[in-house]
């Protein structure tokens, strides 16, 4: 059943066994898992089925440094389906090492191991519509496939791990009918405000819900789950005083701290001596999933070099510089205005285009017109019109030269922080302020990994990787924190001094309030978070089923 909160009478109370706040990847996965077990679930969602500017504006907030973090109403969507309505679909699990305490990464280690999460990854992969849970080339493919780099020595970087791509699945559109068929009640246009405790101060008694239409009601449930994303969950917790007066779950001032994104950038030039030795595009698995290999820094090398987790992909040359002489890249540059902000940012950069450059790009488009036409036909057929979308722009360069696209773990850092500002939104709720920071260790992770790659290229004799070591810090922060990955703000741990929730994702401070989403991840891994968000939501679902 899908209800509109505006039709719930003001002053009334909705009851449920479990109330989930937020219908995104986490909330929808959790609700599906609970309704399947016959549990009475109420799923509250601020938005409706369509994007709505007024509703989205409730997400606006401030950032300490605009160069370092995107605006808070970008890369997240306040509507049914949450940010899965705009995600890119890249899936891969966390690595076993991500759960372990590592000497080189401060505050690392999860209270659970890979074994606790592994049973849920297969189902999570299915919900993400990413096919089999098979993340190495050997497991995923039944026929031999092209190597990433033929002749590459794999002792430092492996090349057989995969990223798999979701459709990308909009969880709202995809699972709407399943939610309607089940016993779950979805309430759209419902904005959660205050979280009120009972007299024991160990239980949430009820939460207050308001609509932009001006109505207000309360929800009572045996258990509550905040699944509103890594930023909004902080806002919900801090907006109410809780038992300590410092915010719900915030007696020890941990809520909103340890905020991580990922460190990502495009750098340098990989030149290969043998043009046909390299394949950096997608392969399709038997069940129809786009898969792509990557360079992954091996765990023991991470320990030896004292780095965090790190992966990299071969990428097309930076498109802003017309020297690539590639029509489609120039066209992408010229098409700046029609590419969504979230994707355009890293494609185009922030620089102003000069007239001469514009002409040079135009020249590329015209001279390279046949190749551009082939590309656009493929794009139209396999992306624009396809139900399963070709994941990204892949350009096979004329010369065997690529840039390197890297994605690295960020160290948990209590000074990197999300808090409330004094500004308020239309509903009177305090807005968020984000002060994202990175550490010396983060710079070291990228620097040492890139140096190791350059060495591995030389040792393998397949070519070279040239980059300016002095530019690494600048390149990894050129566009600031990687957008859309909001991690660690209500982290999981055994010690309330440096964590917000326990191994069951329940707040240390309260007996019936849980958090689902990347907020609970103590470390950020090299992996994009969605698949693990879904797996963790399913794990939480199993935990909550034990009470019924």
């Amino acid at each position: 059943m899908i209800l509109d909160a505006n039709t719930v009478p003001t002053g009334s109370t909705l009851q449920a066994e479990v109330c989930v706040v937020g219908a995104g990847a986490a909330g929808i996965s959790l609700a599906l898992s609970l309704q399947e077990a016959g549990i009475d679930v109420l799923l509250l969602e601020s938005g409706g089925d369509q994007a709505d500017a007024r509703n989205q504006a409730l997400y606006a907030g401030s950032v300490a440094d605009e160069r370092m973090h995107s605006p808070l109403d970008r890369y997240r969507e306040r509507r049914f389906g949450g940010s899965t309505t705009i995600w890119g679909g890249r899936c891969m699990p966390y690595d076993a090492l991500d759960f372990e305490p590592r000497v080189q990464i401060a505050h690392s280690g999860w209270p659970i191991g890979m074994d606790a999460l592994h049973p849920y990854y297969e189902a999570a992969n299915k919900l993400c519509e990413a096919g089999d849970f098979a993340y190495t080339a050997e497991e995923a493919f039944t026929t031999p496939r092209r190597p990433l780099i033929a002749g590459f020595k794999e002792d430092v970087f492996s090349t057989n791990t995969l990223e798999r791509f979701s459709c990308p699945t909009d969880f709202g559109a995809r699972y709407r009918q399943r939610l309607i068929n089940g016993a779950c009640r979805v309430v759209q246009h419902a904005n959660v405000g205050a979280i009120e405790l009972d007299e024991t101060r160990r239980q949430v008694d009820h939460i207050q819900v308001r609509t932009l239409g001006g109505t207000a009601f309360t929800v009572r449930a045996r258990r509550f789950v905040l699944a509103a994303g890594g930023l909004e969950t902080v806002r919900l917790l801090l907006a109410s005083p809780g038992a300590s007066g410092l915010g719900v779950g915030n007696a020890r001032d941990v809520v909103g701290r340890y905020y991580m994104c990922h460190l990502a950038g495009t750098i340098g030039t990989l030149s290969f001596t043998e043009p046909r030795s390299v394949y950096h595009g997608y392969e399709m698995s038997d069940e129809g999933i786009y898969c792509r290999r990557r360079l992954a820094l091996r765990p023991q090398v991470q320990d030896r070099l004292g780095t965090g987790n790190f992966i990299a992909r071969l990428h097309h040359p930076r498109i802003t510089d017309p020297a690539h002489h590639t029509g489609i890249l120039s066209l992408l540059y010229l098409a700046k205005a029609v590419i969504p902000y979230e994707y355009g940012k890293r494609l185009h950069g922030e620089e102003k285009m000069k007239g001469g450059q514009w002409l040079a790009h135009l020249r590329n488009v015209l001279i390279d017109a046949p190749a551009t036409a082939v590309f656009l036909t493929h794009w139209l057929r396999h992306r624009t019109l396809a139900a399963r979308k070709f994941p990204s722009v892949i350009v096979y360069p004329r010369r065997p030269r690529y840039s390197l696209d890297f994605h690295a773990e960020q160290e948990p850092n209590p000074a990197s922080r999300v808090s409330l500002s004094d500004a308020r939104d239309e509903l009177g709720m305090r807005r968020l302020h984000v002060d994202w920071r990175y550490t010396e260790r983060d710079v070291h992770t990228v620097k040492a990994s890139l140096a190791a790659l350059a060495q591995a290229m030389r040792d393998s004799g397949v070519g070279s990787f040239d980059y300016a070591p002095d530019e690494v810090e600048h390149e990894m922060t050129r566009y600031g924190a990687y957008g859309g990955h909001h991690i660690g703000t209500a982290r999981m741990g055994n010690d309330p001094a440096d964590s917000v929730v326990d191994a069951d994702c329940r707040l240390h401070e309260l007996d019936n309030l849980y958090v689902s989403g990347a907020a609970v991840f103590p470390t950020s891994s090299q992996a994009n978070p969605t698949l693990t968000i879904v797996a963790m939501a399913l794990r939480l679902g199993d935990h909550l089923k034990r009470f019924s």
Binding site: C167, R176, N181, M284, D286, E287, A386, A387
Partner: protein, 322 residues
């Protein structure tokens, strides 16, 4: 002395399989009731019109059981049931056991877990309505067992294996997203046949109705993906809503007309690309799950695992040159 079992509709997919199983048994001797020429080789056959009560009465004289798998137009199915009723009712308690094939179609648009006690749907279409009518007619007989199978698949099953294989080979179906989320309620042909044999032999199941669907039947999407992989029709395509609309609204009617035309001209219609009518697409999205616990318990059925069933079906498909 073996029990003679009359199988009506013996030339059909299920009928043939039942005949084979009876022939292989130690206790039964199949007798094929067929309208036209028998396609069953040396099996004893009686040419009879299953809608003719007196002919049926004669055919029933020396048999210990009768299995009704007559397919055909709704009118033929209803007339057949009417004739069976007329032939069997006068025999009273001495009537042979009748195993009657109904269908899950009688539940119509029901959703959720459906047990045998669930009433038939309302506003049913031609086939489903006819099946529901046959049930009502035959329900009063003293010695009848009704079977309501889900979707019967297996080597050369025309509807749920061969048609699906053709559609998969043409990449016209695959992973359908939300449109393929419905439960397939698949049941393997061997399990259906076993249900028939048990229904004939067990005295205590007279008057019972059984849903037949494998436990934990996959969603249609999962079935399509698994079957395509076993057929080697990979990579499996993802079919979006727009494509499916084209299938049902434009391609569907055109192919149906072709099929009818080809049928009139006596071409083998199985060589034509099968249409996907809107009703089929509705079924693939329908959240209906047959509970087959009764059949499992009372008929001691063990469901063939999907991998096994699909594997045998795919092997048979590949073995046939196409």
């Amino acid at each position: 002395m073996k029990t003679k079992v009359l199988v009506l509709g013996a030339n059909g997919y299920v009928g043939q399989a039942v005949i084979r199983a009876l022939q292989a048994s130690t206790w039964a001797q199949p007798v094929a009731g067929v309208r036209g020429a028998s396609r069953l080789g040396d099996i004893e056959s009686r040419k009879l019109d299953a809608t003719d009560a007196s002919a049926l009465g004669n055919a029933l004289k020396d048999v210990g059981a009768v299995v009704n798998c007559v397919a055909g137009s709704p009118a033929v199915m209803v007339a057949g049931a009417q004739a069976l009723k007329q032939a069997l009712a006068p025999l009273g308690a001495a009537a042979p056991r009748l195993v009657h094939f109904s269908s899950m179609a009688i539940y119509g648009g029901a959703t959720g877990v459906v047990e045998e006690s669930t009433p038939a749907g309302t506003g049913l279409g031609g086939y489903a309505e006819a099946k529901a009518q046959t049930e009502t007619m035959l329900a009063g007989l003293p010695n009848v067992v009704m079977l309501r199978p889900g979707c019967i698949y297996g080597p050369s099953s025309p509807q749920w294996s061969e048609r699906i294989a053709l559609l998969l080979a043409d990449r016209r179906i695959g992973d359908l997203g939300a449109a393929g989320d419905g439960c397939s309620n698949l049941v393997y042909i061997d399990d259906v046949v076993e249900a028939v044999l048990q229904s004939i032999q067990r005295a205590d199941v007279g008057g019972c109705v059984f849903n037949l669907a494998m436990a934990q039947a996959p969603s249609w999407n999962d079935y399509f993906i698994a079957f395509a992989r076993r057929l080697g029709k990979v990579p499996v395509a993802r079919i979006g809503g727009r494509r499916l609309k084209v299938e049902t609204k434009m391609l569907g009617p055109a192919l149906k007309i072709m099929e009818i035309g080809a049928g009139r001209l006596r071409f083998d219609t199985r060589r034509l690309p099968p249409p996907i009518p809107p009703s089929l697409l509705r079924l693939w999205g329908q959240d209906i799950r047959l509970s087959s616990v009764q059949a499992q318990q009372r008929l001691s059925l063990a469901w063939t695992p999907l991998e096994t069933g699909i594997g045998r079906t795919a092997d048979a498909w590949r073995a046939l040159a196409r």
